[in-house]
Symmetry: C2
Subunit: 348 residues, 2 copies
Amino acid sequence: MVFLDRTRLAERMRRALAALQVTPISIDHVVNSLVMTSLRGVDSHGVNLFPHYCRAVGSGRINPQPQMRFEDTAASTAILDADHAFGHHAGALAMDHAVEMARTTGMASVAVRNSTHFGAAAYFSQRAAERDCIGFAFCNADALVKAHNSRESFFGTNPICFAAPMADEGPFSLDMATSLAAWNKVGNAQRTRKPIPPDWAFDDQGRTVTDATLARSLAPVGGYKGFDLGMMVDILCALLAGGPASKDIPGMYRASLSTRRNITHFFMAIDIAKFTEPAVFKANLQSMANRIRALPPSDEADDIVMVAGDPEKRTYQVRLYEGIPMDDEKFAEFLEISGDFHEALASA
Amino acid sequence: MVFLDRTRLAERMRRALAALQVTPISIDHVVNSLVMTSLRGVDSHGVNLFPHYCRAVGSGRINPQPQMRFEDTAASTAILDADHAFGHHAGALAMDHAVEMARTTGMASVAVRNSTHFGAAAYFSQRAAERDCIGFAFCNADALVKAHNSRESFFGTNPICFAAPMADEGPFSLDMATSLAAWNKVGNAQRTRKPIPPDWAFDDQGRTVTDATLARSLAPVGGYKGFDLGMMVDILCALLAGGPASKDIPGMYRASLSTRRNITHFFMAIDIAKFTEPAVFKANLQSMANRIRALPPSDEADDIVMVAGDPEKRTYQVRLYEGIPMDDEKFAEFLEISGDFHEALASA
């Protein structure tokens, strides 16, 4: 395990992306999103993805110099053709446009087609929250979550993300896969040969498994309700934006890195000022969160009482000082990109 | 158990509400919502609620002759002060207004304050879907779902509802409480003295229970994720519309029936035509649902493979012929309102 200095790591990632001819604005969004996400402790969607992204640019899946085009279809709706840009860049443009429209009309949505993996959805919803809006972000993915009563997976882990501003701290931020557990937790158990809880995953016959090496699909969160939430996400993404869903999306790792995935996203922004004074809203949300945090713990509690985003805020404070942890195998991938990444070590 | 003829039952409910001086438009929405919901098999939110509603009108909680007022705050946003109307009526007006605005601007939302219990959320989202929109409906409720790691409940069962039109059948309709199980299932187990599954509910110390009589709070769907979704609902409802949340909302049954609850709702509509041809969208959603239904079953399957709303569509077809079932105790409550309800028996 190594610990990386966020500033030096960001600088080296910028250089590596520039060497791949990625445009400066794409670089900004990718690096900002990855570093923020790793600082928040969401290692599945942070800097660990960087070597994969570099390979995907090099092989042609991600377009380093996209020609993105907005089509405004009404005062509160637009479609963005992302031209296979980094999803981090396309998503930020789309959310910013939704916020801009919402400032006039009160609320707005932007669907994004022909995009790529966008990292952590919280990156986009929080942009809205920082501008006194409520932000929603949705994204589809290739088939991984098992359909209820079937042996086969259908929807991806299709995240639902929601953020809203608070008075005394960063935004309330809910960013959840519609699977119970993340696939990378199953992958970790495969590597370490540890058993997984019986409610996480299924084998190729749709039977529950504790042996992670047999896992082929994930359980939806909350049973059939989670599967249906995943379908809601793909109705907003694939069907409104116009793109593939489920098995029609090439796998992020299984497909050739030259294969374009045509990922779709959907963003919504609500201007809080059209409903109430933003300062009052933020104070009320702060008070609601504080009341929840002050509830008496149960005898079965495994941690303090928290609201969405609290674990990430806690990890953020720790990692600002300790640096971003990374396992040696992953760091070796960074060194394959460039020996310069040695300079990003926090102890250096 | 008795079976009721939907047409005759609706007619008697209309008469009983008219006798309570309820306005004709409120009567339409209440009766249409309750009958549709019972036909769909959602007995917790259908005609079983009717005697309670009649008592709530008689005691002053529900206003039979509300003066509702819309405030349009921007081209895509509005607030409706429901003046303690039946939530069914207020919600339908709010969703219809959101659809109307979305027809121009592409998407819109309406927050509703000073409202009452609105029955099944699907009643509203489906109205949007019938007009080629995607509809969202949210509502808050009094504290019942336990906060993760606490012994106490905080949010209500705060439903999330989403509907979208399909080519060859009624809308795709997801209408889910953010608790794992409905409270009325716990109540049924209390009456029949049967044990409940250990993941449904908690006692007053926040410990899991199988004895339903000890249950004081419900488990959120999917653990902390469901609790956070419930918080999202109350951010949209209580905080945007301006109303109480959690323990500040008087209990539906626990509080005096003269106590007004100031329930809040939030509705959103997206005009599909602003993103794609509605006929194409509906065909694609039909095809997606049909593909899911055709997936191979697992060995552990307890039913066929379905999408959200399928169980309700199946029950609807059965109940159109068999009538609406009701237990004798509940039917006795109807007879207390009026002996005329005898004429609603399907066998009569």
